[in-house]
Amino acid sequence: MQAAVNHLPVLTWNRLKLNRAQMEVGDDLLANTKKQPQSALFEIPLPEGISVEKNISADALQERFAALGIENPKEAFVAGKYPIYNRQRFGTGMGAAVDELMEGVGADYYTVDPTYQAEGPIKLHYGYGEGQSDLNRLVIHAKAGSRSTFILYYSTLPKACDYLEECGKCEMQQELLQHHKQEALVKSEEASKDNNTAGSLVGVQTYLYLEEGACVELHVVQMLEDGAVFFHDIGTFLRKKAELVMTKLDLGALTVYEGLNTLQIEDKSRFEMDFGYLGLGGGKMDINYNDVFCGKKCEGRMYFKEALLEDAQKTFRGTVDFRKDSTGCKGDEQEDVLLLGEDVINQTIPLILGEEEDVEGRHAATIGSLSEDMLFYMQTRGISKKKAEELMVRASLQSISNRVPSESIKKAVKNKICRVFE
């Protein structure tokens, strides 16, 4: 099937092929994925103050959103005539097509109580066997004044026989292993047995609802097997003084779609996003991130760091959208792309939409190979061009992974980059 996703909020020349992306998923693959919904989640028992309800249906989800006073319209996305996004309330970045794709997939609904104020992260590890596919939905509902940190980690598990050994090296997996030793082995083995020749698809839809004064840190790290298709469709809704700090790292999968729509619906909310992508040979990445300002005195910042190797392709759409009466808001967006491969294709379209005068918006992008200054600086320390490039890729991705509160993930990122440059 083909689904039009990642719509640009304001259209431009069709010739540039930036107005939307066509997500292609094999029909077999999709049918198989839907036939056997299986959660690959390994989780450690949740601490007091955080609860989860499993498998909430789409309709029930609608009702819950409605009860919270927000709409989640199913209507199709219409672009071209602005202001077009006004119709989308609790929308996601990839758009309504993902809802159709996700039909029948239940959501895990996490609730963070107002009393919850913990520093330590809630780690949700989605570990897949080779060739295993999965669609899942996740809602994080942070109650007023709560403070919480979540890590979503999507990875392909090593073959069962390697699993124990691998786990020995990894603190997060060690933790998981204590709880799931048997389960993990079985899952991994079975998943590998059930090898799907149509490739693997992991699709995730995430809703984040932050009540007044809630703070959520969310770290999403994706290191799926090289041939996988991954998409992550995110919608966030920030009430008054809510704070959402996100990091996002895509270091695996061959084809990736990323969409995010942040609605800073009430005053003084804050949104921060650091995004990293490493594009390898054959890799394709399609991004559509929107930060929509509706409240007053809100702040938003989205920084993207990408490195493209060999013939990797990347399309970036990023929008800072100041709605009427969003007075005193500040929106900032920056994209830095390192082009290292001979045959890379890099498309960038950063939008600033302004319906309000009293705002500050900025976007900057740098696209190119290693700057001459930086290269010379590195060279004067005896570092060759090739090594300097590696160091810069590592530096830019680590500057993001360093924010993830998990030593094992930091290490995994490091190892991944080392493997790439070996």
Binding site: L375, F376, Y377, T380, I383, R394, A395, L397
Partner: protein, 246 residues
């Protein structure tokens, strides 16, 4: 006279249409410290950058030798691997790459061997102590959020760790307070002592030179070396400025 380590022969260099170095020659032997002084825009920093192979400048004629080998056209990393070093006036910032990781990588490129981590850490700690740098800087991102003084110290730290045979220090003392100058100059002294390293110190002030052994002083004006003398020239400049040479 000792074998020369660096020989610059009739170098001319320009940026675009503008010629900045107009026939500069200079020789430096192992262990010698040379000071290059001159008014703003005279070509001091250009000479340092040209010696190290900066792509910003085009060498239009002349030759540069390191020992026996001509290196005029070599890339900067090759020169560094031979044992040359340039400290930057404005070192670049690299978020995500820690100072110690950077130095370790540079050392590995130079030696071609894996670094013995324990020994490395010890050396690094010693050098940082000498420079009065807090050890936390080792794990901080390279130059990110460093003050001017800390950046310069981090450059001297790299000088001490990489142990080049010949180092060019480009305005290492500019913008530093008295304490920082003292620390930096202590680091340079250590470099002079420790391995008989040759030095070309580019500066327009004389503060950094007070505690250092200086063998030769060169005055550069409008892209030409107009005077070469001993350490006494430094004092002369200190008193009278560059007036006499313009």
């Amino acid at each position: 006279m000792a074998e020369k380590l660096i020989r610059i022969e009739n170098i001319r260099a320009s940026v675009g249409e503008e010629e900045i170095l107009k026939d500069v020659s200079l020789q430096i032997a192992p262990g010698e410290t040379h000071v290059l002084m001159g008014p703003n825009g005279a070509g001091k920093s250009t000479l340092g950058n040209v010696l190290m192979g900066s792509p910003v400048y085009q060498v239009t004629s002349g030759k540069i030798f390191f020992g026996e080998d001509e290196i005029t056209k070599e890339s900067a990393d090759k020169r560094a691997q031979r044992g040359m070093f340039l400290s930057f006036q404005n070192p670049l910032e690299v978020p995500g790459l820690s100072l110690d990781e950077f130095i370790r990588n540079a050392l590995r490129q130079k030696t071609g061997k894996p670094i013995k981590i324990f020994q490395f850490k010890k050396q690094l700690a010693e050098a940082m102590e000498l420079l009065g740098m807090d050890e936390s800087y080792a794990s901080r991102d390279l130059n990110v959020g460093f003050s001017g003084g800390e950046k310069k110290k981090a450059e001297i730290l790299q000088l001490l760790m990489l142990q080049p045979e010949f180092a060019i220090l480009d305005e290492t003392d500019s913008g530093l307070d008295v304490d920082a100058v003292r620390m930096v100059s202590k680091g340079i002294e250590e470099y002079q002592k420790r391995q008989e390293g040759a030095l070309l110190i580019i500066t327009h002030s004389t503060r950094i030179l007070e505690s250092l052994k200086v063998d030769y002083t060169h005055i550069i004006v409008k892209g030409k070396i107009v005077k070469t003398g001993g350490p006494e020239l430094v004092d002369q400049i200190n008193e009278n400025g560059f007036e006499a040479f313009l």
